[in-house]
């Protein structure tokens, strides 16, 4: 979505107005809510991308200066083994984004495929639906504990847990969309007119069922940040010493009362990121619903 706005922002305003009218996503995104979200996420993402250039220290470089207060060479202070928190938070954003940008599309793809499968036959539908029920019935975090216990902590288990937890959302939304669109007059007409099932699906049904999927994508982003953080808090997050926002925050917990500033930066960053994502999701939702 970011690319959409970026590539189109250069176009003359007149074209923009026309595009806005035609494209409900763009229309939603360009609301005050959407712009605020885009700015927050954009700034944080930029900081994460430029982390190696912006931070003077490597995120894993330790020193004698443990739990140094913010200021001087360490604008956000240092952690318990003397690592620069500014660097750790920036690299944390980077790692979080990497996780999210892999896991969420994977979930979207898996969910969509399952939805297509489910709408193809009644039997498949029953199986897929039970699978979704099962995943949703398990408390996600216990699933996370179990998967990590089997695989060992790391980047991959976090991605898998997020993807698994978010697949039913995508699947259900698309399945419902296809079922509704399929019975619309235009689809029925196409079928009656002799178009094949696949052709009707691809040419007529899918393009119209995809709207809620885009919104679901935006809703899934903050949830992914949440799952990463929660897994770090339960001690099954990304493998140390690599920082993520959740791991930096959870490491600060023992020092809440003695060094409260330690928690401040990761706290504000996580909040910003999820808030930004949520605003974008809401803006998109509004645009589509209008």
């Amino acid at each position: 979505m970011t690319t959409q706005t970026e590539t189109r922002s250069g176009v003359a305003t007149g074209t923009l107005a026309r595009l806005r009218a035609r494209n409900p996503y763009l229309n939603g995104l360009l609301s005050p809510r959407g712009i605020t979200g885009l700015i927050i996420v954009g700034l944080l993402a930029l900081a994460g991308l430029l982390a190696p250039a912006l931070a003077d220290f490597a995120p894993t470089a330790q020193s004698d200066q443990a739990l140094h207060s913010p200021g001087g060479a360490h604008p956000l202070g240092t952690d318990e083994v003397g690592r620069d928190l500014f660097s750790r938070v920036l690299h944390g954003i980077r790692n979080d984004l990497a996780i999210i940008l892999i896991a969420v599309p994977v979930a979207a793809l898996a969910g969509s495929l399952l939805a297509l499968l489910a709408t193809a036959s009644r039997a498949a539908d029953a199986v897929v639906q039970r699978f979704f029920d099962l995943v949703l019935a398990f408390p996600g975090l216990i699933l996370a504990l179990a998967i990590t216990a089997i695989m060992g902590p790391g980047f991959l288990p976090v991605v898998i847990v997020i993807a698994l937890a978010e697949t039913p959302g995508f699947g259900r939304v698309l399945r419902a969309g296809i079922l509704v669109q399929r019975e619309r007059e235009y689809a029925v007409a196409a079928r009656v007119g002799g178009a094949g099932r696949a052709r009707v699906l691809i040419r007529h049904v899918l393009p119209n069922a995809v709207d809620p999927l885009i919104v679901q994508l935006a809703i899934s982003l903050p949830v992914a940040v949440f799952i990463e953080g929660a897994m770090s808090f339960l001690g099954v997050g990304v493998r140390p010493p690599e920082p993520t926002l959740g791991s930096v925050l959870s490491q600060s917990m023992p020092y809440l009362s003695s060094h409260p500033w330690y928690a401040a930066a990761p706290l504000i960053t996580v909040t910003g990121l999820v808030l930004g994502f949520t605003l974008i999701a809401e803006a998109l939702n509004k645009g589509v619903r209008r």
Binding site: Q62, E80, V81, P153, G235, R239, P240, P241, P254
Partner: protein, 528 residues
């Protein structure tokens, strides 16, 4: 808002009234009463207060009781010496003192030991304690299912012969130098209820407190044993152990006086309490185990002694002690705490932080560009150690990839010899008779250890030391030093630091002690 949360109001009447108010009016009573956070005014007491009867001591602990591990050394060994007794108890110089065994006699060749047991001792259910109970206790520890670390010592007992109800003779397969470690370790349970003890339903012993109940995850309660064999003891009416798994809550429960004692405060948190006059902080030279880096001698390049020694020189132990343990540990290249007969400053500082020397050794070994896995048991405390070890090794050119294992998996890999080239963990058993380390702590075991290290010299020294009739004579001490020399030279277990047991007590708590296996002992404890 402040008026809503008054300091705790003392006196039972107020509390009674609140109880009577009932749960239905929880919000109303909230406005009128105690706070869970404000400081309680601790009474100023003179340092020389005389023992006082009465009161309940509340102990806060970060780990829940695991009854299945009752006969094993675990991270929760507080109830052992409250409910039960042991046969003997070491003094500060590792000389055994009487408990349930009043006196003992070791034959000159060291293969038979005669124990005379205390008379007039009864279990909490009124049954008298006899020699049969000791026989049961030893046989109990011989059972593999109890997973007692001192099983090898218990198994060296080949026969137990009663002479009457209060005397028995132990026949040993060979002289056993650490027999009194077993007597310090082995609680004497009621043999009729041991299955119920292992599920936590019922703990029956001869100790100063009766076990009233256990609510998993939150609370253990004990009340005074009025017919305790030591007359006039204990002073306390009862003991409560509150399980508080979160550090901040544990500290705040101490600050507010909801609990008065904790042995579960980790070093870096104790550092924040150091200057608070409300608390007395005690550390025991017995130590609370050691953190170490283990090396697998069956894989390259850690099969090379020079590489292992390089690792030993690369570690900045002082920084680890400072940053990870808040200063509450002793940087040491050797496993033994200050109280051990084999502790020397030379052993302790055999390896210091010397990255140049480490690099030089690695060059000599031809191991310049190496990358190794470093396993560890993933808990917040251990993660910091692993990260620091990783950083120190990186400075001398050894790249490592951290491999977090969850605790059960780490344990499985440790005892099934499946650790990678390097790992970091904690070990115990260096605080008692020095030979115990090599027969009861798995990482050091001469026959079978995680490092897959074996040498005829090490095995010979360990067996000789273990079979000493007198574990503290000149010859024994010499053997211990030679074991130390082998351990330091071979560096298959590279010790980092001996951890302190940190005891945080509110100022009015007196007379708390621990035995060598960290069993909380409150016979003489009182609230001043």
């Amino acid at each position: 808002m402040n008026t809503l949360f008054l300091p705790p109001s003392p006196g039972p009447t107020r509390r009674g009234v609140l109880r009577a108010a009932g749960a239905g009016s929880a919000l109303l009573t909230l406005a009128a009463c105690r706070s869970a956070v404000s400081h309680s005014e601790s009474d100023e007491v003179g340092a020389s207060a005389a023992p006082r009867r009465g009161g309940t001591l509340t102990v806060a602990h970060g780990v829940d009781f695991t009854p299945a591990l009752l006969f094993s050394q675990s991270s929760m060994s507080l109830p052992q010496r409250l409910v039960f007794n042991t046969l003997t108890r070491y003094d500060d110089d590792l000389r055994p003192q009487p408990e349930l065994a009043e006196s003992w006699e070791v034959s000159p060749d060291g293969t038979t030991v005669t124990l005379r047991l205390r008379r007039g001792v009864t279990y909490h259910d009124g049954r008298p304690f006899t020699a049969d109970d000791v026989v049961f206790a030893v046989e109990n520890l011989q059972t593999p299912e109890r997973s007692a670390q001192l099983r090898s010592t218990a198994e060296a007992v080949t026969a137990l012969d009663k002479r009457g109800d209060h005397e028995l003779t132990l026949t040993l397969a060979h002289p056993v130098g650490n027999l009194f470690d077993l007597f310090e370790f082995m609680i004497i349970p009621d043999r009729n209820t041991v299955e119920e003890a292992l599920t936590g339903d019922r703990l029956v012993g001869t100790g100063p407190f009766r076990f009233d109940g256990w609510r998993p995850g939150s609370l253990l309660t004990f009340s005074r044993n009025d017919s305790y064999w030591q007359s006039g003891r204990p002073y306390l009416d009862g003991v409560e152990i509150r399980v508080i798994t979160q550090t901040d809550s544990l500290l705040s429960s101490l600050r507010t006086g909801q609990s008065q004692l904790s042995l579960g405060v980790v070093g870096r948190d104790a550092a924040t309490l150091k200057d608070d006059p409300q608390f007395t902080i005690t550390t025991y030279t017995t130590g609370n185990g050691c953190s170490y880096v283990g090396a697998n001698t069956a894989v390259r390049p850690t099969n090379d002694k020079t590489v292992r020694q390089a690792i030993a020189w690369a570690l900045d132990r002082e920084r680890i002690v400072e940053q990870a343990y808040g200063g509450f540990a002793l940087a040491s290249a050797a496993p033994w705490p200050e109280s051990s007969p084999v502790f020397t400053e030379d052993n302790r500082t055999h390896y210091r932080h010397d990255p140049d020397r480490a690099r030089e050794l690695l060059r000599q070994a031809g191991a310049t560009d190496i990358s190794l896995p470093l396993g560890y048991s993933a808990s917040p405390g251990n993660t910091v150690i692993a990260e620091m070890v990783q950083y120190d090794l990186e400075q001398v050119g050894i790249r490592t990839e951290l491999q977090p294992y969850d605790p059960a998996n780490a344990q499985r890999r440790l005892i099934s010899q499946e650790m990678p080239a390097l790992w970091t963990m904690n070990h115990g058993f260096a605080q008692v008779t020095p030979s115990t380390l090599a027969v009861s702590a798995y990482p050091f075991n001469e026959a079978h250890n995680t490092s897959r290290f074996q040498s005829a010299e090490y095995t010979g020294l360990v067996q000789d030391a273990w079979r000493r009739a007198d574990p503290l004579d000149e010859e024994a001490l010499d053997l211990y030093q030679r074991i130390a020399d082998v351990l330091l030279d071979e560096a298959f277990i590279i010790d980092i630091a001996v951890l302190d047991i940190v005891q945080v007590a509110r100022a009015d708590v007196r007379g708390v002690t621990l035995n060598k296996f960290n069993y909380l002992t409150l016979d003489d404890a009182f609230l001043a």
